[in-house]
Amino acid sequence: MPSLTWYLTLSAVLFTTGVVGVLTRRNALIIFMSIELMLNAVNLTFIAFSAFLGDGRGQIVVFFVMAVAAAEAAVGLAIVIALFRNRRTVDINDVNVLKW
């Protein structure tokens, strides 16, 4: 049986993958997906703690995180669409009227 440490470490690796994605990529959609990756890594931490500690609240939090992810996806993608209609780009290098 894998121990809690394994699950948490896996979660930390996935979280960091997401962070590196946000820091290195320039495509707004891929940055958004990297953030989804981070949220999922956090969910794994919650579920792992919940299952090993025998406490249901961690799973409730995950339930809400999914609602939050859905809401963020709706608004974030709408922003991307509004941007694309103006400039035909989702590359944040091209998005620099204001100083970045």
Binding site: L8, G18, A71, V75, V95
Partner: protein, 475 residues
């Protein structure tokens, strides 16, 4: 059933805002051109909520099985949000009307944002705090991108969204670690569990991650990179809301999560928060100097002001929290006033916010010029305006707490800030207006907001002690 009823009464200010938000949404969905009724319903809802907040203020407690703090300090924060929202709505009515931006949608989203601010700043459970944060953020992302045809607005919305969601991920990871360390997400239970001085490593990691998320929302250095772009790119009415309500909510949450509840942890993190304060004060006030756009300049100066408020936060005391709330009240009034004048200066395309566009304002529009000077004096912290006492109380608390180094840097950076604030006044009074420079027309609602703010700034300057005692008494 009885519990639900009691809880609902205890958190009535929140539900008043929620009901108003839904009502405005329904009215606006019924008739798309119903900006005016929506505006009036929103004003009425804010009024009702304010009355309910004051009514519940003496009864401090928690509602919904320990999810939400009600009364007491929560009331103080709620009142701050309501003041900020009311003044913002006044400014927005004229400013968005000029830009032909959707005022109805603006009003609805502002009300939803306030519905998020209340649990964000008064949550007693990290899950409630997180949901509040996300309601606030989702509403603000949309508001920033509200003028969709302006590319700057799109850009600001995208940057705010990506960085905000990124910081939200860190905040959430922090909650996960705290949950693992304490087996609960209830803030008071976590604090009780770790009341002793040796903190487990999971607890420290979790708290540090929460700190990152909160520092991002407050716009403290080094998590400030979104502030100038978002404040400049957003429609001015939205910038006003971000800089007043948004900042108040972030500091409310900072104080609630760190100072008031995780008090012991806060002492442990005092040096870290102190360093954030130091960096913010120095960077914000120096980076504001070369700016040519007044919105961007005020954005950088807001980073500096976040630094001053963080001095109050890091003392982790009731006096510090009261000082922060007083500072926020003063800052809300001053900023809405200043941004009200900026909104009046703007044209339909959102242009006219360069500092040189203010040339000669002191002659062409003496009242606007004088009022803007008053707000700038208050931002510098010159007596007898409220900004002086706001800084004074925070510095006093910090000295009593033994943080003289922060106070010295605070005073020094305030002197630096003289330069860029005074420069605007010099341009206003000692520079001739350009050839085809448009003469600004301030709408009636904007003038009401600006004059109310000015009255507030002067009143707070005249009776600072009374107000501060009132605020501190609820903490």
């Amino acid at each position: 059933m009885h519990d639900i009823l009691n809880d609902t009464i205890a958190s009535a200010p929140l539900w008043a805002i929620v009901v108003t938000g839904v009502a405005t949404l329904l009215v606006h969905a019924w008739d798309e051109k119903s900006d005016k009724p929506v505006f009036w319903i929103a004003l009425a809802g804010i009024g009702v909520s304010a009355v309910l907040t004051i009514w519940r203020a003496p009864v401090a407690g928690t509602a919904y099985s320990g999810m939400l703090k009600t009364g007491g300090a929560a009331s103080a924060w709620t009142l701050l949000f309501l003041v900020a929202t009311l003044l913002t709505l006044f400014i927005a009515w004229d400013s968005l009307g000029k830009a032909a931006a959707p005022r109805g949608e603006f009003t609805i989203l502002v009300l939803f944002a306030v519905a998020g601010m209340i649990p964000f700043s008064a949550g007693n459970d990290l899950l409630a705090v997180f949901i509040g944060l996300e309601i606030l953020s989702v509403s603000l992302y949309t508001l920033v991108g509200l003028t969709r045809r302006r590319f700057a607005s799109n850009e600001a919305a995208l940057k705010y969204f990506l960085l905000g969601a990124f910081a939200g991920g860190f905040f959430l990871y922090g909650i996960a670690f705290l949950y693992g360390a304490a087996q609960t997400t209830n803030i008071e239970d976590i604090a009780r569990r770790f009341a002793q001085s040796n903190f487990p490593v999971l607890f420290l990691t979790g708290s540090a991650l929460l700190l990152v998320g909160l520092a991002f929302k407050t716009g403290a250095v080094p998590f400030h990179m979104w502030v100038p772009d978002v404040y400049q790119g957003a429609p001015t009415a939205v910038t006003t809301f971000l800089i007043t309500g948004g900042k108040a909510a972030a500091f409310g949450a900072f104080v609630t999560v760190f100072t008031m509840t995780l008090g012991h942890a806060s002492a442990r993190f005092a040096v870290v928060i102190g360093v954030l304060a130091l960096c913010s004060m120095v960077f914000g006030n120096i980076a504001a100097i070369p700016q040519t756009d007044i919105k961007r300049m005020l954005a950088y100066s807001s980073i500096g002001h976040a630094g001053y408020m963080l001095i109050g936060v890091q003392t982790a005391s009731v006096e510090g929290a009261g000082g922060v709330a007083f500072y926020l009240l003063s800052y809300i009034l001053t900023s809405t006033g200043a941004f009200g004048v900026v909104a009046a200066m703007e044209n339909e395309q959102g242009e006219g916010t360069r500092i040189e566009d203010f040339a000669g304002l002191g002659y062409t529009k003496p009242l606007l010029g004088a009022l803007l000077s008053l707000f700038l004096f208050s931002l510098i912290g010159i007596p007898p305006f409220s900004g002086f006492f706001a800084k004074y109380y925070i510095f006093l608390t910090a000295i009593e707490h033994g943080d003289l180094w922060l106070v010295l840097i605070g005073v020094a950076t305030s002197v630096v800030s003289l330069y860029f604030y005074l420069r605007v006044m010099v341009v206003m009074f000692f520079r001739q207006p350009g050839e085809n420079q448009p003469v600004p027309e301030a709408g009636a609602w904007t003038m009401i907001a600006v004059v109310l703010s000015a009255a507030g700034v002067i009143a707070l300057g005249l009776f600072p002690g009374t107000v501060l005692d009132l605020i501190t008494s609820v903490f």
